[in-house]
Amino acid sequence: MKAFDLADMYRTPVIIFADGMLGQMMEPVEFPDHTNPKRLPAKDWVITGAKGRPGRVIRSLILDPVLEEEHNWKLMRKYERIQKKEPKYETYLLEDAKIAVVAFGTAARIAKGAVNRVREDGLKVGLFRPITLWPFPGVILAELGKRIKLFFVFEMNMGQMVEDVRIALGRDGDIHFYGRPGGIVPTPLEISRIISSQYLQKRL
């Protein structure tokens, strides 16, 4: 529902990342209470038949280079607005963390289990989970970079988000990447072992 509202407010496609796990697994889910949709902008652009007005056109083709560039600047300003207002993320046990695991989607669920495991061993590890991958919550990550030394990026691909993390952190914080290309889904235990070995190797 949030995705539909965002799409409507900004007139932009909103893509929900699903994966095979989400598609195939079964577990009880909790739906949030029904909330009334936000006040959505008036739609003076819809095509419903030109009743008492000139015809309207919905199009993406702009052949005049001047108008086309103007349009692209308009889109750019919109993307900047989205980038400023819409990044969403979850933090988990990051207050005292020395390692932040960065993961999204199913990988984040696994990572959370791994964080719980290493916490039992007294290691100060937390999780940063981007809920939106674009706009990427890089500003928050950059703040974390000032006090957290190691960012352990775990993805169920060979590194599609790690570059965003690198850009966000700049020169702050080290990054350790662990990716799995699809096939075997790693368990929280496996990930916890990698986190622990990093923790000990880096003498955190």
């Binding site: 095509i47 038949g49 030109a50 009743k51 015809g55 919905i58 199009r59 993406s60 083709l61």
Partner: protein, 251 residues
């Protein structure tokens, strides 16, 4: 003095950008005339094609929405289902409806969506420079079949209208041409009939219009009109291909 001829209300006062001898200008005018005569301007929603006629919205003063290449009938399906009391039509070339959009065309017809497709067949990809299309005739020279199309190498010209007529969802399908005054009048009648079939919710309707493309055929306007008569019509015969109004619904 009695006024006997004027610009249709639904046609904007701007010059067409089409090449001399192109069929689009004629068909645009026919569409505007039919919309006016049937009083449909305020409920008509059109979907222009990928191709030269994407700019149809600069000429027709009705609501129009671009679709991605070939997806015209899919977009029209959505529009019609949300706004069932409107007249929804697509305007598509052969490269659009019979090549990249083949799947959408077949399934829209098969679902019997109450939309109308105006299928402009010029037997090549007009806008991109006259390349061979699925509808290109055997032996026809195009920029990508310079020696003429051969069935063994390039496959055979596709008769989309006949294919769609096989689906139970299609209600009215006719093939016409705009190469002579008589054929232009028949085309206008066919468009009106297709719109009527849609308004009566009988199912999917389509008018295939054989249209001259002198530029890409490397012909004069006159030769192009002649060539439709002498060559294209042999392979794509004119006439009603399916009409359920004559047999009752569901036949």
């Amino acid at each position: 003095m009695k006024k006997v001829f004027s610009r249709p209300r639904s046609l904007k006062k701007v010059p067409f950008h089409y090449c001399p001898g192109c069929g689009h200008s004629i068909v645009h005018r026919l569409v505007a005339e039919v919309i006016d005569e049937m009083g449909l301007r305020e409920i008509a929603i059109g979907v222009p094609p990928a191709g030269c006629a994407v700019l149809a919205y600069f000429y027709l003063d009705i609501d129009m929405g671009e679709s991605p290449h070939g997806r015209g009938t899919a977009l029209a399906t959505g529009l019609k289902r949300v706004l069932p009391d409107r007249l929804v039509f697509t305007y598509q070339g052969d490269g659009d409806i019979a090549a990249i959009g083949t799947a959408e065309s077949i399934h829209t017809a098969n679902r019997g969506e109450s939309i109308t497709a105006l299928f402009i067949n010029n037997a090549c990809y007009g806008m991109t420079g006259g390349q061979m299309a699925p509808t290109t005739l055997l032996g026809q020279h195009t920029t990508t079949s310079p020696g003429g199309r051969t069935g063994a190498r390039d496959g055979y010209p596709i008769r989309l209208s006949e294919m769609l007529a096989l689906t139970d969802g299609s209600a009215y399908i006719e093939r016409t041409a705009v190469n002579s005054p008589a054929n232009i009048r028949k085309t206008k009648k066919a468009i009106a009939k297709a719109f009527r079939v849609q308004l009566d919710e009988l199912g999917f309707s389509l008018v295939e219009i054989l249209s001259p493309c002198p530029t890409n055929w490397r012909m004069s306007s006159y030769e192009a009109c002649q060539w439709i008569e002498s060559e294209i019509v042999k392979y794509y015969p004119l006439g009603v291909i399916k009409d359920v109004t004559k047999r009752g619904k569901g036949c």
